[in-house]
Amino acid sequence: MVKINFFTLFRLELGIKNIDIDIDKKIKLRDLLYLAEDISKKKFIHKLIDEKDGLLDSAIILINGKNVHHLQGLDTIIKNGDEIALFPPGGGG
């Protein structure tokens, strides 16, 4: 099972805290996110990925506590047991 945790604006706008997804084989992050959209019936990918399939700058995707920018981005392979955190961090002080 893979756990996707939504925080801050995502949680507020989607009205859900997390989604657990059972995957029978490893899949890429991009495919997992689309799967999560299908399952949750909530649109959120446009806040993470631009039209050119690039990661948007405003939100953070952590896989097991590591930013996907240091992994393979949207092509990062996700396996059972992985935990994903999605949030736009606060910038003010």
Partner: protein, 226 residues
């Protein structure tokens, strides 16, 4: 047992109170977060505080920046904050430096601090501040927006840096006006002060963990950082 710190002294050990007293802490950014953080630290007995900011007190600041009042409009924040703190607690020594972390950061002064508190309002400055951090100094990072905030401890020899956690944030446009609610500023800043004290007494909670504070549902979530 009637001094300013006596109630805290009933809770913390003598050794911990000594560590708190002897700690040198730099609060960088004396806006919403920095006002509350520096007030808590001063009231708890941190004697040596360094305040850094390049801002001037403006009317909208009064909505959430607890050390300022109407009479401070137009003053340098670092000066108004120092005056306000010394009126509350006259035992602390406060050095105030009017400066922009990106342009004329007093690296020498920062290097003397045991810990630095990131109360800045943009990521470009946060990354510049992090550059000044030694391998062993602790940096308490906080950020707020709308009604949520996040906090973590950065120690270069032990944790990810802000650049590791937020590699894509530097390029984001610097917003002049960030939407923020007053309660989340006070809550997040109070927790940052708690983490400063935690680091001083060697009991930090957010080393390799990020705390997300959400007032919309009163939730506190910890994310493990690797």
């Amino acid at each position: 047992m009637n001094d300013i710190y006596s109630r805290n002294a009933l809770f913390f050990s003598k050794e911990e109170m000594r560590s708190i007293k002897n700690a040198k802490i730099a609060v960088v950014g004396v806006g919403g977060l920095g006002c509350v953080v520096s007030e808590i630290l001063a009231r708890m007995g941190v004697v040596s505080l360094l305040l850094m900011d390049n801002g001037i007190v403006d009317m909208p600041d009064l909505g959430r920046q607890s050390l300022y009042g109407l009479e401070d409009i137009g003053k340098r924040k670092v000066d108004a904050a120092k005056d306000a703190l010394l009126k509350k607690v006259d035992t602390c020594k406060i050095e105030s430096v009017f400066c922009d972390v990106n342009k004329n950061c007093p690296v020498e002064l920062l290097s003397q601090a045991d810990g630095i508190v990131d109360c800045l309002d943009n990521y470009e400055s946060r990354f510049a501040l992090e550059e000044c951090l030694s391998d062993t100094q602790f940096l308490i990072h906080g950020g707020v927006e709308n009604d949520y905030g996040q906090i973590t401890t950065v120690i270069k020899s032990k944790t990810q840096t802000l650049k590791d956690i937020y590699p894509n944030m530097e390029s984001t446009a610097k917003e002049d006006f960030v939407a923020v609610s007053t309660p989340v500023v006070f809550v997040t800043a109070s927790l940052m002060a708690q983490e400063v004290i935690g680091n001083i007494i060697k009991k930090p909670n957010l080393v390799n963990e990020m705390l997300i504070v959400e007032l919309s549902d009163f939730s506190f979530s910890k994310i493990k950082l690797n």
